[in-house]
Amino acid sequence: MRYEVPVTAKEAASLLMKEKGKAFVLAGGTDLLVKMKAGVVAPDLIVDIKAIKGIKEIKKTATGFTIGAAVPCAALDENAALVKAWPGVVEAANLIGSKQVQGRCTMAGNLCNASPAADSVPALIAAGAKVVITSSKGSRKLAVEDVPAGVGRNNLKKGEFITAIELPKRAPKSGDAYLRFIPRTEMDIAVVSCAVNLTIDGKGIITKARVSLGAVAITALLVKEAAKAIIGTKLDDATKAKLADICSAACKPIDDKRGTVEFRTTVAGVLARRAAETAYTRAGGK
């Protein structure tokens, strides 16, 4: 097992590309180390990307925010502008694990680990975030919802890794929210989760929306019909009921130790309604 600490993205990409055995990217390590400990993975090479220049920075740009792939989730809520623009994304990232885990874990890692229950992923999908993927050939962008390929699998190719996540610029009168269901108040994996991101007009009518569900299918879902159902409304009770029904219907969950199909399906609707209410209020709707 080898450990490398490249200082440029190019160097990192070429290390990953050239490795004949199993190469793993190390950012926060909060998933990788658990898997190593359990004997689920046995890396031949670990590429620690944290020394790459700029990869631990949050930048406000003309088009929104660029969040370096190695920014620990705990650093997100220390950035006031980000919290103001994307409260739902920040609260989702700050629900991953404990304070200790948040001191290390990253949204990029959360995404690449490709657990359907990852907390930050539905929030990023609802936000319309993109990832910047780097390889020795250059870089490309991909919508967050296109990154996971299945449980524990992602669409990155050999030699590729994520260097940043881009959040779009915020339109006025917008709000997002993320809610997850866990049995305790902390420390659990989401049994079902939902993120809603929306924009309203001067009259409080929703003009744009994105709704995403987590832990109800093999990957987080972007539920377009749910967004459609609330666009053009002021999120009245009938709309909320419809939203809940659509979200419940979109679920393709499994029975497991954390919850039943029935439970996940019901609660997905409940969370969608509640998340939409919060997002609507945050957008300034009444």
Binding site: F181, M187, F263, T266, V267
Partner: protein, 762 residues
């Protein structure tokens, strides 16, 4: 020394009257500084020169015959110093089946009996090598049908796990092997007749799932066997003497050749009263001829060390409209994991212990299943029984339109009550704790939306047992205590307080340590809430013996009769005529002169401390349940319990709070989840959900002191009773917040939501 006898009012048997100087204060514990600075040494914190790393290979099957174990490749791996299987642990138990069961649990013999059952172990120069070696051991299994549910195991169609087990205690001798290892019955009166006299009969069935003690420190030991057969072991345990005795038997050693030193213990709650991997570490060390350190992973702790039973309980209560209970019946089915046990029987004894009943019967069925061996967990078996009985009590009260608390007060046991399990009670605290609950401001506090309140009570026997203590006076006039019971939560402080009190010196002159097994006589475990109760008693007696020596030394110094020497406030005083001009001799004076008056000064006591004094508690829980998700949160919680005499009130409160929160976790979220394949699916803290700090409010406590007439200071055990009422109190609260009777613990959100939906559908 006298205790005020209790008053004739059965609801107020009287309080300790003696004025104490040290007892009842909140001194700092001797291990405090070490524990806040990281110096304290727990099980995994010790090392020995040349030590190897021990690891255990465990069965992935719930039930399987072990056809063959091939260890050759592992043995050949460089760095591997020993590989053992059951062959290396021959049967020295001499026909003692219960010891053989312990051995078989530590290492599977012919069959693997549960997921996680040890089948082989290795010792290697480092962890990486040991892990590789485990992977090289080739075990051929023949998979057998398994059963993990207690009710399923009793069915005729269930696979029989042990063909040597026949049900013990049935009216007719059983002729077929069975998964039920024991049948027992308790009670008095005529339940059938009582049910006929009732105006209302409540009949309900309840289930509770398996939980783990969840101590934060995994099991760890460091074993060293030398070629001459003498051995040493450093281990985290609740009872190093018992570990010594059992390991010696299983390894074929004389007990005096195995010296066991206990580490600081990072929680046990009953789970560290049984030996698990310690004999394996000793056997590895013997084979490798090097010290072996064996530390379990968290996953191993969950998969193969003592969870509690899952249970299935039926209750029937007959009640008259005026609140008289005419009949009480319960059948309790508990499993002991893969080995015979008596956990159901214990449940049957405790089930109705809070009440004064004319007609009562409990039947217990102890069952084996393909799960890890069940261990004691804080007041073992009582919480589940209380859950079932207290819910039936609540339902009965509501059925006759009586306040549930008043209903309990009316039927509470009192001094002179013949308990449902046999003995007649002395002065007890159930009535006073119920009255204190009734008068508690918590009962009058308003409830919010979706909130419900539950009240429930609970009982625990408390144990005494074998204990010995040495009290030594140091040459500079200070005091050391050697105790043999493990300190799990501050008992060294309490014991030192008792000695200081008795000796009439201040606490800072007295220090207690835990002696190793070669330095003191046998001591039972710290279990059954016996630690502080029995050790303080032995310490008080040992101190009194030391005081006799001190008085003799003073008499010798003064050349007067020992009867003319009185011990008071830490000094010898002359009494009687003609000694008026003699200045008192302090402990320091006497210690300094000890060399000339007969040598070192010490006192010893060896006792079997019976009559630990039963203990009762009443809890009040407020819960808020989200009707759309079924999730419940505790909003307010109050524990009221009888301590006899609280030696160190902070530590008593800590026991109340800790037990209550363990019970809350059990009530709401903790459970073992087994798959259809009989494998445990949630062997980690991530999905075995013990309460976290943000799940809880402050836990209010109220300590009542109804002295135990059998302890010099009136002390009762306090450690366990606090886990008995929470399952019941919280479930009654959720019943009230949702309007649906909760009969299955834990009340996880999916379960509660389903109960709400099912009730709506009806």
């Amino acid at each position: 020394m006298s205790l005020d006898s209790h008053s004739s009012d059965p609801m107020n048997p009287g309080l300790v009257e003696r004025k104490f100087k040290v007892i009842g204060s909140r001194v700092a514990r001797p291990d405090g500084v070490d524990k806040v600075t990281g110096r304290a040494r727990f099980g995994a914190d010790a090392s020995a020169p040349g030590q190897l790393v021990g690891l255990v290979l465990r069965s992935p099957h719930a039930h399987a015959q072990i056809v063959k174990i091939d260890t050759k490749a592992a043995e050949k791996l460089p760095g591997v110093k020993a590989v053992i299987t059951s062959v290396d642990l021959p049967d020295y138990t001499n026909g003692d089946r219960s010891m053989l069961d312990i051995l078989e649990n530590c290492m599977a013999r012919k069959k693997a009996l549960y997921d996680g059952h040890a089948v082989a172990a290795v010792a290697a120069i480092d962890a990486a090598t040991a892990r590789k070696a485990l992977a090289l051991i080739n075990v051929t299994y023949k998979i057998l049908p398994h059963v993990t549910d207690v009710d399923e195991a009793l069915k005729h169609t269930a696979p029989i796990i042990h063909d040597h087990i026949f049900t013990e205690g049935t009216p007719q001798k059983s002729e077929m092997p069975s998964n039920q290892n024991k049948h027992a019955s308790y009670g008095h009166g005529d339940v059938e007749q009582g049910l006929k006299e009732a105006d209302v009969v409540i009949s309900r069935s309840f289930k509770t799932e398996q939980t783990h003690q969840g101590y934060i420190e995994p099991h760890s030991c460091l074993a060293s066997v030398s070629p001459d057969g003498a051995a040493e072991m450093w281990v985290c345990t609740q009872g190093h003497f018992v570990y010594r005795n059992q390991c010696a038997i299983l390894l074929g050693l004389d007990a005096n050749k195995l010296r066991v030193t206990s580490s600081e213990i990072g929680g046990g709650f009953g789970g560290k009263t049984h030996i698990w991997a310690e004999p394996l570490a000793l056997a590895l060390s013997r084979k490798a001829n090097r010290p072996v350190k064996l530390t379990m992973s968290r996953e191993e702790v969950f998969r193969c060390t003592g969870p509690t039973s899952s249970t299935s309980i039926d209750v029937k209560l007959g009640v008259k409209k005026d609140g008289t209970i005419t009949a009480a019946f319960a059948e309790l089915r508990y499993h002991g994991g893969a080995f015979p046990s008596t956990w159901a029987e214990l449940g049957a004894q405790t089930a109705f212990a809070c009440y004064d009943l004319k007609n009562v019967q409990t039947i217990s069925k102890d069952v084996v299943v393909n799960r890890p061996k069940t261990a004691a967990y804080r007041a073992p078996s009582a919480p589940m029984a209380a859950f079932a009985v207290e819910n039936a009590m609540d339902e009965a009260a509501k059925a006759i339109g009586m306040d549930p608390l008043d209903f309990r007060i009316k039927n509470a046991a009192k001094e002179g009550t013949k308990s449902s399990y046999g003995p007649v009670y002395g002065p007890i605290g159930i009535g006073p704790t119920l009255m204190a609950a009734k008068n508690h401001p918590h009962m009058k506090a308003p409830l919010g939306k979706n909130q419900g309140r539950g009240v429930a009570c609970g009982f625990w026997f408390n144990f005494g047992g074998q204990t010995c203590v040495d009290v030594n006076i140091t040459p500079d006039g200070n005091v050391t205590i050697a105790q043999g019971t493990i300190d799990v939560g501050g008992s060294r402080a309490s014991i030192a307080m008792a000695v200081a009190e008795e000796l009439g010196v201040t606490y800072d002159h007295v220090r207690s340590t835990i002696a190793d097994t070669s330095s003191l006589g046998h001591n039972d475990m710290t279990d059954g809430s016996r630690g502080t109760f029995s050790t303080s008693m032995a310490a008080i007696f040992a101190t009194r013996n030391a005081i006799t020596v001190l008085r003799n030394r003073a008499a010798k110094t003064w050349e007067i009769n020992v009867d003319d020497v009185e011990w008071k406030d830490g000094s010898a005083h002359p009494i009687g005529k003609g000694h008026g001009n003699l200045a008192p001799l302090s402990l320091k004076d006497l210690a300094a002169g000890a060399g000339n008056t007969g040598g070192p000064i010490a006192g010893h006591a060896e006792i079997t401390a019976d009559n630990a004094g039963v203990s009762f508690g009443t809890h009040i829980a407020d819960v808020e349940t989200d009707p759309e998700t079924g999730r419940s949160l505790i909003k307010r919680y109050t524990v009221i319990q009888d301590a006899g005499k609280a030696m160190h009130p902070s530590y008593v409160e800590g026991q109340y709070q800790g037990g209550a929160v363990q019970g809350i976790g059990w009530a709401l979220n903790e459970e073992y989840v087994y798959g259809k394949d009989g494998r445990l699916q949630n062997a980690a803290f991530l999905d075995y959900r013990i309460p976290v700090c943000s799940d809880l409010p402050f836990i209010d406590t109220q300590i009542l002191e109804i002295p135990n007439p059998n302890h010099p200071y009136g002390v009762r055990g306090v450690g366990e009773t606090s886990i008995v009422p929470p399952l019941a109190a919280v479930s009654i609260a959720v019943t009230n917040s949702t309007g649906v009777r909760q009969t299955h613990i834990p009340m996880s959100p999916p379960r509660v939501l389903k109960s709400i939906q099912d009730a709506k559908a009806k």
